[in-house]
């Protein structure tokens, strides 16, 4: 499922966070988005997910509907004190098939079991989600994404506060999604992890600093430029870009 950016500018309350993005993400890509804090990485993901209307330009998802995108946000909006057990929570990933009213047949129950097993949570199906550790909860969220069976998977800092073993297991799952031909776009901080796992990278600092194969994108020169842009030396440049845009428009 190809995604095209056409002069895309995203932001909040008329303050742009990502400027003038152009290019495309080919179907089946495994793309990492990296960059300093405030670079607009999460904003871009939100834009791709269709939850933020562009200030300018457009995103073409080639007919992919919002409900067909699996989007794991950085701060999970879920209320972990809600009295729901892991099995039922993960099962909500099947919503597109079962909706609000259909029941779970045997085949679907088996899929839920498989999803829970593949994130290593077997045996915890009956536990309330509130009793899970941070890593376990992230595994449960991945299991839900798994059941969503989405052609496009968006992950926003999925390994934020979890241990190495969980990262290893969940990264294997991401590789598996990639091998199934799904498009996976992940916002990540750990550059070492990106070098190991992601063939393509987009380095962002409110504008595209570099884009392409991971090794060349994550060069010292590019990372330095991204830092400089983020530290404010880029601010004036951005102001200028937008100013001239406004004049032009």
């Amino acid at each position: 499922m190809q995604i095209c950016f056409d002069n895309l500018t995203l932001g909040y309350n008329r303050h742009p966070a990502v400027h003038h993005l152009r290019g495309e993400v080919a179907a089946g890509s495994l793309l990492a988005i990296v960059g300093p804090n405030g670079a607009g990485k999460s904003t871009l993901l939100k834009g791709i997910a269709g939850e933020l209307r562009p200030l300018q330009g457009r995103i073409d998802r080639n007919g992919l509907q919002r409900r067909q995108i699996a989007y794991l946000t950085q701060q999970a909006t879920l209320d972990t004190s809600f009295p729901i057990i892991v099995h039922d929570f993960v099962a909500m990933g099947l919503w597109r098939e079962i909706g609000a009213f259909s029941g779970l047949d045997r085949a679907r129950r088996a899929r839920i079991e498989t999803a829970i097993a593949s994130v290593g949570l077997s045996g915890l199906e009956g536990r309330p989600i509130g009793s899970l550790s941070g890593g376990q909860l992230q595994r449960a969220l991945f299991a839900r994404v798994l059941l969503q069976d989405a052609p496009l998977v968006l992950l926003d800092e999925p390994y934020g506060a979890i241990d190495a073993a969980s990262v290893r297991d969940l990264a294997a799952l991401v590789r598996h999604w990639h091998s199934e031909g799904r498009t996976v776009i992940a916002v990540l901080h750990d550059l070492e992890h990106v070098r190991q796992e992601y063939p393509e990278t987009l380095l962002l600092a409110r504008e595209v600093v570099a884009r392409g194969d991971t090794v060349s994108v994550l060069s010292e020169a590019n990372l330095l430029r991204a830092r400089q842009l983020a530290e404010g030396r880029g601010e004036e440049a951005h102001a200028a870009i937008c100013h001239s845009d406004r004049l032009g428009a």
Partner: protein, 293 residues
């Protein structure tokens, strides 16, 4: 048989007096209809919003009263219209301005409550005002009972059909909004259920107490179990049992019925705090009780 039962202080008031039976039937309807809504209200962290909404129905009911006196249909219709209007307006303000939902609801409920009291005092006596604020569970007529039963039936049916929707809306609303077109239906459907049950509760317990039978049994039940089904069941049982005891207290000790019921429900909540397995004390006294919250 009837004679032996009527000699028991637990049953005799209900056997001897029709108004006590009606009150009990009204409380049963509220326990079945309003309490499950209260469970979801609590789980969505909207307990106080429910309280605000209960005040919001007052001016509508008061206008109904101004036009038709203590008339059931007029006050019901007025209450429904006012409650739904405030739900939609408060939600709209919260979504479209910097005012957050709690502040938005608070502004509307403060205005509603004062407007309601003002309107009633324009025409009515302080007795009427007391009736509106504290209900009249001991004076439920046939029409009021049918209304309570009808709203309760509707509420149970809608909750049963939409259970998964309401559960996901409470647990992970952003996820629901992403994967389903029904998300707005879940939100506004729930608000409609809330207003329906508040208006029902208003007739029996008054605008100040209607939320009591929603939130107190729900909070008590939360201290016993940690899955949704049992939570709903225990809350309903607690609500009905509390109403029964409250009515008896009011009968024998000559207390106003509404506050007696709500205080009994409060006592059940406090008791659950002490002995409920998820309460703060049980886990302190009995560390070997290992319940998952």
């Amino acid at each position: 048989m009837t004679e032996t039962l009527s000699s028991l202080p637990l049953f005799s008031p209900f056997i001897e007096f029709g108004f006590m039976r009606r009150a009990l039937a009204g409380c049963l309807a509220l326990s079945l209809g309003a309490t499950p809504v209260g469970v979801f209200l609590m789980l969505r962290r909207m307990s106080l919003a429910g309280d605000a909404m209960s005040h919001a129905i007052l001016p509508g009911a008061a206008i109904g009263y101004l036009i038709a006196g203590l008339s059931l249909p007029a006050m019901t219709l007025g209450g429904l219209v006012a409650g739904l209007a405030v739900a939609v307006l408060a939600g709209g303000v919260a979504r479209n301005t910097v005012i957050k939902e709690d502040a938005s609801l608070a502004t509307f409920y403060l205005l509603s409550l004062s407007a309601g009291v003002l309107i009633i005092s324009l025409r009515g006596s302080s007795v009427d005002l007391l009736h509106v604020l504290f209900g009249s569970v001991l004076a439920l007529d046939d029409a009021a009972l049918f209304l309570l039963a009808g709203f309760a039936t509707l509420s149970v049916v809608v909750l049963a059909i939409g259970l998964r929707l309401f559960a996901l809306e409470g647990c992970d609303p952003a996820f629901l909004a992403r994967i389903s077109r029904l998300a707005p239906l879940a939100h506004y459907g729930f608000m409609i259920l809330l207003v329906l049950n508040l208006v029902a509760g208003f007739h029996a317990l008054g605008t100040l107490m209607a939320v009591g039978i929603m939130i107190l049994p729900a909070a008590a039940a939360r201290l016993w179990v940690c899955t949704l089904g049992p939570l709903l069941l225990i809350a309903v049982l607690a609500a009905f049992f509390g109403s029964l005891i409250g009515l008896l207290l009011s009968y024998y000790a000559n207390l106003p019925a509404g506050p007696a019921i709500v205080l009994t429900l409060g006592a059940i909540y406090l008791l659950s705090m002490v002995v409920g397995p998820l309460g703060p004390l049980a886990s302190h006294w009995r560390p070997d009780w290992h319940f998952e919250r």
